[in-house]
């Protein structure tokens, strides 16, 4: 997939052009495009003076980064301990079944992606599902279906 990277120079200009800025730059790219386009990584490597191999190693080390485009809506299912023992795994299965994809994948129409996240700090209302940045607490297998309707 080709991507318009016109915002990239501005992102790179926000940080000191040195190797220690690598994670911060990648975070900003991730936030802007919801993934790390390959061309953006090459440009980052060049500007910060870091080897491309190292950029990739950092990009694949951290969970926050993804090398594939995300759907319009990202469904984040919390599988932290508190959510797990209150049935988080069943919720994840249900969402996967409903959207016909596995966690980490995006639907063919590009509308939804599923991500699992280990704790979002909202344990008191477990289990938690975050759709498009909005927190939903005390989700059940029964009521989760309405959260992921196109």
């Amino acid at each position: 997939m080709t991507h318009k990277l016109d915002r990239l120079p501005e992102i790179l200009a926000r940080h000191p052009q040195e190797p220690s800025s690598l994670i911060m730059v990648l975070q900003d790219i991730q936030q802007e495009y919801h993934y790390l386009p390959c061309e953006a990584l090459q440009e980052t490597a060049r500007v910060l003076g870091v080897k491309l191999a190292k950029v990739f190693s950092v990009a694949t080390f951290y969970n926050a980064f993804g090398l594939n485009p995300k759907g319009e809506k990202v469904v984040r299912v919390c599988v932290g301990t508190a959510c797990h023992i209150r049935g988080g795994a069943l919720i994840k299965d249900q969402i996967e079944r409903q959207l016909g994809i596995q966690a980490g994948q995006t639907t063919k129409d590009g509308k939804f992606s599923i991500e699992v996240v280990a704790c979002v700090g909202a344990c008191a209302m477990a289990p938690v599902v975050i759709v498009d940045g909005k927190y939903h607490g005390e989700v059940s297998v029964g009521n989760v279906t309405r959260l992921v309707k196109g």
Partner: protein, 618 residues
């Protein structure tokens, strides 16, 4: 406005109190993550909308305060009327009007919004009288939920930055370290290392550059104390760091915040900007010969980055791989310079110790475990939320007196502390005092403070499998015992959960787990087998039930359970039939339904929708 002298700090506090005092009453709306998810923002908007329409005497929109987490998340959204201290629970936006008219306009208390004590059905008006709060002691959380975290004047008016002023004007760095040492404050991140000793070591290393880092990575799933502190009282974190920087002689600091906490980043950024504007960060702070700056480093989602050397690599923009610590990071840390790394909760304790003295602090808690500890009390407990208790409080007091016992009247099976590096403790240990040493001795650990309560419907084999799965995906892969060993352990727990395990597996697992402890490079591997070892120790019967009887007593492991309709309870309402995605349930209307075992995928959809508890998991 720039504060140049200590005196101006007091003036500012006084002035702010005066302006705030023109409102006879204030309304505090809890805007912690829990309450926000339950609609707290809509409540704030409802107050604003009402005040836009109607004028109320001595009350404007400025008297509606958005604060951090009040703690009692279970009862949220929470609204408090000050100075009366009337607490309203489970508030809805439509209640805003009656709250203003009755509790602000008049002094009336709205009965229906008060907390009902489940023990006797009595209505309780004030936090201090609610059992959930009555057994707590709040030091680290002193301001969380009380002040508006995005206004520096609120923190100053609450006595903030007085400890910094005291340190800069009346104390030498050595005296500060001495005071912290005397307080016996131990690292709240989990290790429990003496803070004063760490600071002393850092100061004694010969170097031109030193760093102070605040660890806000809080990677333990099931813990959100540090998150609540950073969101609810960011200035206390900064003040603690400043005092530390003065004591050890550092001029640069970093706060490493977990990726999943966007609100904490916003609040900390605002707090840092305000401090720079008020002259509390930068050059010659409060007119003293002390310069300090703080930057935020956002984590990128890696549990191992809670480990000191991995965290410092991550701050430097590299992969978060730990190193062997023949030389500690306090001697050779960030960019190879001496670095103090303390947890969020440790730093917020510092200003209080400076203000009240070490002696005062050591009187709280128990010997060698002074002070308090914040916990996130979650799982199958009735009152979930954020709590803080004196060290040495027993598990029973926390779970039953504060937590209100187990939900749905079920029985207590265990409590997990210390996250993936901790263990599960059984009912026999309910009277164990909660402090660093007692927990470690019992085979768990303090950890950062997640406390996850489990009932008889929690499968302990599944819990061990869950943590191992988490650790396998979070292991950085640098050393073999952790990378390969945890992988094998996980495989064996999966085997047991699927009903294919043998008793020989248990012996193999114990042996391998102990080897991982001995051979791993960092804390992740060294303590990663604790959840497994502790469950094997305290819940061996449950493992044996999976192996010998091919049964999961808790009804969790899918291969070992069956869903069955209880014909005595089923009304034949057919709701489950519609909910089942596999057409596994059939029967006539108004007659008990039947689940076809060969078709059923055990997804739990029928159990979730059945209003009559008519589906048994056997």
């Amino acid at each position: 406005m720039k504060i140049l002298k200590t005196k101006q700090l007091e003036q500012l506090a006084e002035e702010y109190r005066k302006t705030a005092g023109r409102h006879k009453k204030t309304v505090t709306v809890c805007c912690g993550t829990g309450c926000l998810a339950k609609g707290a923002q809509k409540i704030v908007e409802a107050f604003e909308e009402y005040l836009d329409r109607c004028k109320v005497r001595d009350f404007t929109v400025e008297a509606v305060k958005k604060t951090g987490c009040h703690g009692f998340c279970e009862q949220g959204p929470l609204v408090v009327i000050e100075p009366q201290g009337t607490v309203y629970t489970r508030v809805k936006p439509k209640d805003a009007e009656s709250i203003i008219e009755q509790s602000i306009g008049h002094d009336a208390v709205i009965e229906r919004l008060l907390y009902t004590n489940p023990a006797d059905g009595r209505k309780i008006e004030k936090y201090a009288d609610i059992p959930f709060y009555a057994h707590q002691r709040r030091i680290a959380l002193r301001n969380v939920g009380k002040i508006a975290p995005d206004d520096i004047r609120e923190y100053i008016a609450a006595g903030g930055y007085q400890a910094l002023a005291k340190v800069l004007t009346k104390m030498t760095p050595d005296q500060v370290i001495e005071e912290i040492s005397k307080s016996e404050l131990r690292g709240r991140g989990g290790g429990g290392f003496l803070t004063g000793k760490k600071w002393r070591t850092c100061r004694n290393v010969d170097s031109d550059v030193r760093y102070v880092i605040c660890n806000g990575d809080e990677g333990d799933p099931g813990a959100f104390m540090d998150c609540s502190i950073m969101e609810g009282d960011p200035h206390a974190v900064l003040e603690g760091m400043m005092i530390c920087a003065f004591a050890v002689g550092a001029s640069e600091g970093y706060i490493y915040v977990r990726e999943e906490y966007p609100l904490a980043v916003i609040r900390l950024k605002k707090a840092i900007a305000d401090c720079e504007e008020y002259g509390l960060l930068g050059k010659s702070i409060l007119g003293a010969d002390f310069a300090f700056s703080i930057r935020i480093a956002r984590g990128a989602g890696a549990f191992v980055c809670g480990e000191s050397s991995a965290l410092m690599r991550s701050v430097a923009g590299e992969m978060g791989e730990p190193r062997a610590k023949y030389i500690h990071s306090v001697v050779k840390g960030l960019y190879d310079h001496p670095t103090v790394l303390n947890n969020v909760e440790t730093f917020v304790n510092v200003p209080v110790i400076i203000n009240n003295g070490a002696e005062w602090f050591t009187k709280i808690g128990v010997a060698k475990n002074s002070g308090t500890k914040a916990f996130s009390l979650v799982g199958k407990v009735r009152n979930t939320g954020l709590i803080e208790v004196a060290m040495g409080t027993t598990l029973r007091e926390i779970i039953y007196d504060i937590g209100g016992g187990i939900i749905d009247g079920r029985s207590f099976k265990g409590v997990q502390t210390g996250g993936p590096s901790g263990g599960c403790l059984p009912a026999a240990l309910l009277d164990l005092p909660v402090d660093f040493d007692s927990l470690t001795e019992a085979g768990s650990m303090m950890g950062s403070g997640g406390m996850i309560v489990m009932d008889d419907k929690t499968c302990m084999v599944d819990v061990a499998r869950y943590f191992l799965n988490f650790l396998v995906s979070e292991s950085c892969g640098k050393c073999v015992p952790c990378r390969e060993g945890l992988y094998q352990l996980h495989k064996m727990t999966v085997k047991i959960c699927e009903g294919r395990g043998t008793e020989e597996d248990l012996i193999k697992m114990e042996k391998l787990a102990n080897q991982i402890v001995a051979g791993s490079l960092c804390g992740l591997g060294k303590s990663g087998s604790k959840p497994l070892l502790s469950t094997l120790k305290y819940y061996r019967d449950e493992y044996l039930a999976h192996i010998r009887d091919r049964k999961c007593p808790a009804g969790v492991c899918k291969n070992l359970i069956t869903y069955r309709v209880n014909p005595d309870l089923c009304t034949g309402c057919m709701v489950c039939v519609k909910a089942c995605a596999y057409q596994a349930i059939a029967g006539r209307k108004k007659e008990p339904q039947v689940i076809k075992e060969d078709v059923c995928r055990k997804c739990g959809a029928c159990v979730a929708v059945c209003k009559f508890n008519a589906i048994d998991v056997l």
